[in-house]
Amino acid sequence: MKVRWSKLLIRALLCSCAVSGASAALAQTVKIGWLSSLTGPLSSAAIAENQGVQLAVEEINKSGGILGRQIELLTRDTAGDPTKAVNFAQQLAFSDKVQFVIGPVNSGEALATTPILARAGVPNIVIGALDELVDPAKYPRAFRAINTNLQWISTANNYATGTLKKTKVAIIADTSGYGTASARSAEQLLDKAGVKPVYVVLVDPNKTDLSDEMNKAKAAGADVVMPWSAATGLLGRLLNARGDMGWNVPVVGHPALMAAQIRKLLNKPEYWDNTFAAGYQSTTYGPDGKLPAPTQALVDKVRGKLGGGEIDVLFWWVALGYDTVKIIEHAAKTAGSFDPAAIQKALESTKDFRGVYTSYSWSATERNGFPDANMAMNAASTFKDGSFKPAPR
């Protein structure tokens, strides 16, 4: 009797193991880690990108997931702190064992996390613009979706010197790592084009008044002012100083010049005129007043989640977030599996993968996916629903 009971017990256990094994395979998900600075400084970009990421995950899961597996999105709020970003990156890579990581949003955090993710061999979609964040040799599985900082600077420089035909450039940057590095790159690029800036200055991003710097730029004979800073307070004060002193010089520079928060900080709305910044074809209205079809489609889908009314964030953030998940889907489908080495090969052989934000191309030696041709120059004061009209030619 005992023997029969124990045999029955063993058979029952084996059966239940088999059943749970099968259901475990069904319940297997593909884990995507998302390092996002949802609170803390520069959170506006992260929150908008998060909307895009979540929408893409929902859409893909509704239509059956990637290769039959549902996406499990592990969002980690790094609060803009590189230490937190590092801890979360290690957690995602080694404890949660995610298959992919998107982000972090801030270049400062990304500088810290990219080597960690590279060591863990986890494919990483990079959305920070600092040029040092990708390297085919050091970080073979890091692929950048956003444009590079150099693309921002050269697009702006080409517009100022090539289209507007200005020769006396004043560069005003902030004392942060980004500002200092960008001012230097901007000077070098201008030098290559044979233009020497008449005035270069670094300003503390919290300085309460920029009229001194603008007066000096005017005294040096500048005919265009190029700010390199992502600090909205500083950019707002710069435009206010220009307007208050009645100096109608064009301001050409960083895309943060076009952020909706700047409009609110201006003393008068017309201070936003004659201000141009590097932008993208995908978020520029055409001559018929319409956005490219993929962008418009995403706008319509996302509008409800952004409050339903007018969109007052830079829409390219949302499009970028959306695309990062689509890139992962594309890579997995091309590779036919989630094996990191296969994913790497799949992304390396990607050419002109159509996203909303842009079309992406990588190669074995190129980890920057954004093509130069999709950069554009926008006029800041034409902000409407997250996108802009092109700057005048």
Binding site: P41, L42, V201, L202, D204, N206, T208, D209, S211, G236
Partner: protein, 286 residues
Amino acid sequence: MLTVVVSGLAIGMLYAAVALVYNVMFSTSKVLSVTTGHIAMLGGVFGAWFMTGLHLHWVIGLAGAIAVGALFGGLTELLAIRRVLNRSDEHLWLLSTLALATMVQQAVGLWWGTEPRPFPRLIDQTFSAGALDQKFWLPIALAALMAIGLEVFYRRTLFGKLFLAMSEDAFAARARGVSTDRIRVLSYVLSGALGGLAGFAAGQLTFAYFALGLTLTLNGFIALAVGGLGSNVGALIGGAALGLLNAFASHWFGGSYQQTIAVGLLMVVLLLKPEGLLGSKNVRPV
């Protein structure tokens, strides 16, 4: 050049106002609360919210900002100071006020947003006034008024004299029947109100920005240390010196040296005169 001087003076006077707030708090509790700068931040943020969010008249916005500052001042005393002082742990109040300051900053960041938001114009004035713009003169005028007001308060009113009594010798004051706990709360509420007022007056200069707190705490402390702990005139001088030096350093050497000059000033003064320019040497006769 005039704009450089005036803008330096304006931000310096905001630091001086924060130093005055430190003085009031220190007089009754011998504590240098890290939350001092955050009170000014709250004054600016809530003032902006009352006026732009709730569309109230600026007088009501001002009253609201002062009320919020006073409330937070009282809260600081209740949460971070009272029990710590009762336990007489040496400098634990540094940690407790730092904790409270961090919590307030994060909470405001979550509610108000992390980008600087506009602070509306208070008095009708053209924007091309240059050095005469109200964003410079409001903090300057306010700091001077605050210092004068505090002197009158200390010398002419009973509560002011009680504050002075407590700052000179808390035990003796208690022996004379002064309720030191109640006076301390009152001093924190008063300093909170002053801090809120300072933040409101400087709102057009700093924008309504959640991250102002720590900068003001640090710079206000530098102004206090340079001017001398306990001296209101010293606070004004220290603040003016810090603001002007920041402005000149930025004008002549660019932004990269601004912070170095400020802290360098502190170190030089403290090396030469450790009790500050107008501070009193606290020598206990044995």
